[in-house]
């Protein structure tokens, strides 16, 4: 099988896009208005102090040299220092990102677990009440912005019904007994052996994850439904009916696998889009993730932090797309990996 070669080729392609991404992000960050050194030192600092810091940060060197410096340090995991928090950017990312990753992963799970079955049900009852109800739901979730859904959830389930807390990741009562081992609260609470803390972590993450998953879920429902209906009209499905295979086997085995390819493509994009959606939801739910850090660093011209956050988001995008490519070519052997015409 030429699979290994294909994967290697795709991997090298991925490296090239990451390099291109790094150039782009770097250049954009350097042409942002505002002098980072001035922003870091504040309005009270003298011009000499600002010039000194700028020299120290290498801001007075030519752009290509700055880039080479940056990349050299990036390779050893040094993203520079955040002017805002005074920590290394790498450290900041490692502490903030797990919260965001946990949120979008759970949101993604909701999207898959509810979106795909709903799409299948809608397709099976094509034109019926269930189909129309599901489509109405999908259409509403796609068209309503996620921050609005987030606020409505807070109001209904948090304020009126008082079922869930509306901000944060964990109640302060538990914060001492939970050891931050992985950064994922649902895992850490279990590792600490506290069931109550684990339940508490769930109650915190449920609303933001659900609110975050809704718009993507609508997309997944719609694409699953339409590709299921499309595949059901294909000759090979009619053939399976002609050979008298169990009807639900035709749906769940022979239709779903074909219909899953477009869904998978959308899922890949959705996972990455969840990252940007999370920036808004995190603000609404005061979720201590990457969003607040990212927004703050843009507002304060904290260049190293901006580049770090953007690189991370871009990296996730590229990796997710790589995985989607692999899965797609695994499901449908006719689809070669990029650059192949299998």
């Amino acid at each position: 099988m030429p699979r290994i070669g294909q994967i290697l080729r795709r991997l090298s392609g991925m490296t090239v896009s990451l390099l291109g991404l790094s150039v782009l992000i770097f250049v954009i960050s350097r042409v942002l208005p505002g002098n980072p050194a001035r922003m870091a030192l504040g309005a009270m600092a003298s011009d000499e102090q600002v010039a000194e810091l700028a020299a120290e940060m290498g801001l007075n060197k030519p752009l290509p040299l700055q880039y080479v410096d940056y990349m050299r340090r990036l390779l050893v995991g040094d993203l520079g220092q955040s002017l805002q928090t005074k920590n290394s950017v790498a450290h900041d990312l490692v502490t903030k990102f797990p919260a965001t990753l946990e949120l979008i992963t759970l949101a993604f799970t909701f999207m898959v677990v509810f979106g795909i079955p709903l799409g299948i049900i809608a397709a099976k009852h094509h034109g019926g009440i269930l189909d129309n109800a599901t489509r109405f739901f999908a259409f509403s979730t796609v068209s309503v912005p996620s921050f609005f859904i987030g606020i409505v959830f807070q109001l209904v389930f948090g304020y009126f019904l008082n079922w869930f807390p509306i901000t944060g990741r964990l109640s302060s009562a538990y914060s001492d007994e939970v050891v931050r081992a992985t950064g994922f609260m649902l895992v850490d609470t279990l590792l600490s052996g506290s069931v109550a803390a684990h339940v508490d972590a769930w109650s915190h993450i449920l609303l933001p994850a659900l609110a975050l998953s809704f718009s993507g879920m609508g997309q997944i429902i719609r694409i699953t439904r339409s590709s299921m209906i499309d595949v059901e009209g294909q000759d090979y499905i009619e053939a399976m009916r002609g050979y008298g295979l169990p009807t639900w086997m035709i749906t769940d085995k022979y239709t779903l696998k074909n219909a899953f390819v477009p869904t998978l493509t959308i899922l890949g994009l959705q996972y990455a889009w969840l990252l940007s959606g999370a920036f808004i939801i995190e603000i609404v739910y005061s979720w201590p993730g990457l969003a607040k850090y990212g927004v703050q660093s843009v507002l304060t011209s904290d260049v190293n932090a901006v580049v770090g956050v953007t690189m991370l988001v871009g990296f996730v995008f590229v990796v997710v797309n790589f995985v989607v490519d692999l899965l797609t070519s695994y499901i449908d052997p006719r689809i070669g990996l990029a650059g192949e015409s299998a």
Binding site: Y236, M240, G244, L245, K253, Y254
Partner: protein, 368 residues
């Protein structure tokens, strides 16, 4: 043969579709029978309604948009009256189909082995519930028995290297191999009635010929009835015992194969045969002018009249009745009737007339 009830008996079958252009009357009052062990062909031009007829027989038409009328009797049961679940049990068990296009009839994302083994294991079990399915799905003895069965069939259809074909995806096989695969798939559950929709028609001439001789051998070895569809009269002559000639959603003529090629009665049949040099001795340039009718607005009377070299006013005003020519032969043309004074169509005369005939243009006299 004629004593026992026929295996398949279709009476007054009509199929129409509700479309954007209005109601399309695609199959209109078709009668046909297939006896036990008989090979019967429906032949006709593309668009004459032959595929739709077989889909109505197998119950693969979605209603709506299709409207189906008439009776389809299989082994004494009216399939149209059967409840859905009993109907499904017949498909893949007693009735099976070789679908027209091997490439699109095989699922591109499953290996040949996976699809055929599932067909062997679950074919004809359209009503298996979810639990029964899982119990059998994970029974390795069931599975390997089914696999053995598939390998046997692949050998029987002379598939080269069956073991590796089992692990191949349809896109990795040649057209001929795909055709063999779907023939094997159709035969897996030993059907009593096999419906073959244009078998091999998408293949090049030599492979097509191989597939036909394979079918000939399968017909000789197996005890099954076949209803075959083809636009190729050579195929009909080679494989079948009896032929139905279909035009415009109606049966124009039927007769045992030898009779219909020796002495065709219907002008349309005569025209078809005259168009084939190998069958008629010499070639006739041009064939039958015109094309199959629009089904949303079919011609009045005889649907063939706009293209028929014998047509006159009476063909337009009345639908021709079947005239019997012996026990198994009949033809639907007004020229056969006793009271009609027009010339009796013969192959030679039809040929002569067709070479001079201009088909009535479609919209002409449409409002009259």
């Amino acid at each position: 043969m004629s004593d026992a009830a026929p295996l398949l008996s279709v009476r007054d079958l009509s199929v129409g579709f509700e479309g954007f252009d209005g109601y399309a009357d695609v199959v209109d009052g078709v009668d046909l029978t297939v006896e036990h062990g008989e090979v019967v062909t429906i032949a006709g031009e593309t668009g004459c309604g032959k595929s739709v007829t077989t889909k109505a027989i197998t119950g693969l038409l979605n209603e709506p948009p299709a409207h189906v009328d008439g009776t389809v009797e299989f082994d004494g049961q009216d399939l149209r009256e059967l409840p859905d679940d009993e109907r499904r049990e017949l498909n893949g068990d007693r009735i099976s189909v070789i679908f027209q296009n091997p490439l699109s009839s095989l699922n591109p994302v499953f290996t040949i082995g996976e699809q055929l083994t599932d067909t062997a294991q679950f074919g004809g079990d359209g009503n298996t519930g979810i639990l029964g399915y899982f119990r059998r799905r994970f029974s390795s003895t069931d599975r390997s028995a089914a696999r053995e069965r598939v390998l046997e069939l692949l050998e029987e259809v002379r598939m080269p290297d069956p073991e590796s074909v089992m692990d191949s995806y349809p896109s990795e096989l040649s057209g001929g191999m795909r055709q063999r695969a779907i023939i094997a798939q159709a035969l897996l559950n030993e059907p009593d009635l096999l419906i073959a929709d244009e078998p091999g028609s998408a293949l090049d001439v030599t492979v097509h010929d191989e597939i036909l001789s394979l079918l000939e051998d399968l017909i000789a070895e197996r005890d099954m009835s076949i209803l075959m569809i083809t636009h190729n009269l050579g195929v009909a002559r080679r494989l079948s015992d009896r032929v139905y000639i279909m035009y415009g959603g109606r049966i124009a003529e039927t007769a045992p194969t030898a009779e219909i090629f020796d002495a065709p009665h219907h002008p349309y049949t005569q025209g078809l045969i005259a168009s084939i040099p190998r069958l008629s001795g010499e070639s006739m340039a041009g064939g039958i002018g015109g094309s199959v009718p629009e089904y949303t607005d079919p011609p009045m009377g005889c649907r063939f009249h706009p293209r028929c070299p014998y047509a006159d006013e009476s063909c337009r005003s009345s639908e021709p009745a079947d005239v019997s020519f012996g026990e198994q032969a009949r033809s639907a043309c007004i020229r056969h009737s006793d009271g009609d004074s027009g010339p009796v169509p013969t192959l030679q005369e039809t040929k002569r007339r067709l070479s001079e005939h201009e088909p009535t243009p479609e919209p002409a006299e449409g409002n009259q």
